[in-house]
């Protein structure tokens, strides 16, 4: 495990492996989301109570799950970076924050657009809605803290503490509908239970998986870029750059050869 972690933690190894799997993950993301959209918008029935407005669920719920999932990944990566000093973990945590903030923002906006016609309000200060808003502030605070320090190590350490402390908010969001009286309805899905009809559950799960993979795609893309930037003076990046520039300037090389 530790051998593997350190091997994968080596920037060069990570860059090569992630480059191989990225197209597959990206392709699967596009496929899942397209099928999910088709089922969610066309092929699934309207709800017996909420009619067509229920289609907002296929965006809202997967985004909400991602907003919490990404935070946990971010906090875990930040903790690994803080304790074992693994650069890749620091990078993964840092680049996860804007992605997580995006999904949190989508959750809040779509929830508002769903709440207005169904509940009769854009916003209420109930426990579920308020704790999700706090999640957005945690992400924004993390991003602000990252950019507040000149030194990358200090920035990573300070923001890691915030990320870890803020992680307590995630179970609060998740269990808020059980712990308190909320306007938001209770959980529809759990281990071995679902109160969503199969015809609606399928697009929901496809979209959820699609959004998860979209996060992985974005995470890999951004981490790879960040790795290149931070390691630009190392031998392997120099080699890579030589190879890339050689490819793009090969035409020039050929023409100069012909002149000779």
């Amino acid at each position: 495990m530790w051998v593997w972690l350190h091997k994968f933690g080596s920037p060069k190894y990570f860059y090569n492996v992630s480059g191989k799997i990225l197209p597959w993950v990206g392709g699967a993301t596009v496929l899942l989301i397209l099928v999910g959209l088709y089922l969610g918008l066309f092929a699934s029935p309207a709800d017996y109570q909420q009619r067509d407005s229920v289609r907002i669920m296929y965006i809202h719920v997967p985004s909400a799950w991602n907003s919490m999932f990404i935070y946990l990944v971010m906090a875990a990566a930040a903790a690994i970076g803080l304790i074992w000093n693994i650069k890749i973990a620091d990078i993964a945590a840092a680049v996860s924050a804007p992605i997580g903030a995006s999904f949190t923002f989508i959750t809040l906006v779509t929830g508002s657009l769903w709440g207005k016609p169904m509940w009769g309000t854009w916003w209420e200060w109930d426990a579920r809605l308020t704790s999700e808003l706090i999640l957005l502030f945690l992400y924004l605070g993390y991003i602000a803290l990252q950019s507040a320090f000149e030194d990358r190590r200090t920035a990573a350490r300070a923001s890691a503490v915030l990320a870890i402390v803020g992680a307590v908010n995630v179970p609060i969001i998740y269990y808020s509908v059980q712990w308190w009286n909320t306007l938001h309805q209770p959980q529809s899905l759990g281990v071995g239970m679902s109160t969503i009809h199969a015809s609606m559950l399928l697009p929901l799960l496809l979209m959820a998986l699609g959004f998860k993979l979209l996060y992985v795609t974005l995470l890999l893309m951004r981490t790879r870029t960040e790795v290149l930037e931070r390691e630009r003076n190392s031998a392997w990046v120099q080699e890579l750059a030589q190879a890339l520039s050689g490819k793009s300037s090969s035409d020039q090389v050929r023409s100069s050869n012909e002149q000779r």
């Binding site: 709800d47 509940w119 309000t121 209420e124 209770p186 529809s188 609606m200």
Partner: protein, 161 residues
């Protein structure tokens, strides 16, 4: 102790401290972070007539009556134990219907009637196509038992206190 060990300890300590703090706050909030009161809980609220609060429950079947002005509505909110009459003047949300959940904000007057300034609909966690809902309803009427999806009464908060 190696530096790595020390950092691990620091992180664990932070987690522990935050966990304890969170547990304490949650416990303290448990009573206070109430978005709404159920009809049965209303009696236990201090100075209930002076406070602007929210009442949540189900709209009692057959209780909705509209006045001639088309805006004023009377209905009963119930948790199947206690029933509170509500008066509201304004536009109701799309999901407002008998047998469904509502959260009304307003004041309980001296006569025990809840004067609502705002009425929000609260739906349950069940999602299904209309045909399935109709089939379930039919089955329950034929068999005389409650449908499989009963919809929670969202009164789970009613148990504490």
């Amino acid at each position: 102790m190696t530096p790595r060990r020390r950092r691990l300890m620091i992180v664990l300590l932070i987690l522990l401290a935050v966990g304890v703090a969170a547990a304490l706050t949650l416990n303290a909030f448990r009573g206070n972070l109430v978005f709404f009161y159920g009809p049965s809980q209303l009696a236990g609220v201090e100075k209930v007539h002076e406070r602007n609060l929210r009442l949540g429950g189900l709209v009692e079947q057959g209780s909705v009556k509209r006045e001639d002005d088309g805006l004023t509505v009377h209905f009963n909110v119930t948790d199947n134990v206690t029933t509170v009459p509500v008066t509201y003047k304004g536009i109701l949300p799309d999901l407002f219907r008998e047998g469904q959940g509502v959260v009304a904000q307003g004041r309980l007057n001296a006569g025990g009637e809840f004067m609502a300034e705002e009425v929000l609909a609260k739906h349950d966690e069940n999602y299904m196509p209309p045909e399935v809902a109709a089939a379930l309803k039919q089955a329950s009427e034929a068999g005389g038992k409650t449908p499989q999806f009963t919809g929670t009464l969202m009164m789970q908060g009613g148990s504490n206190k």
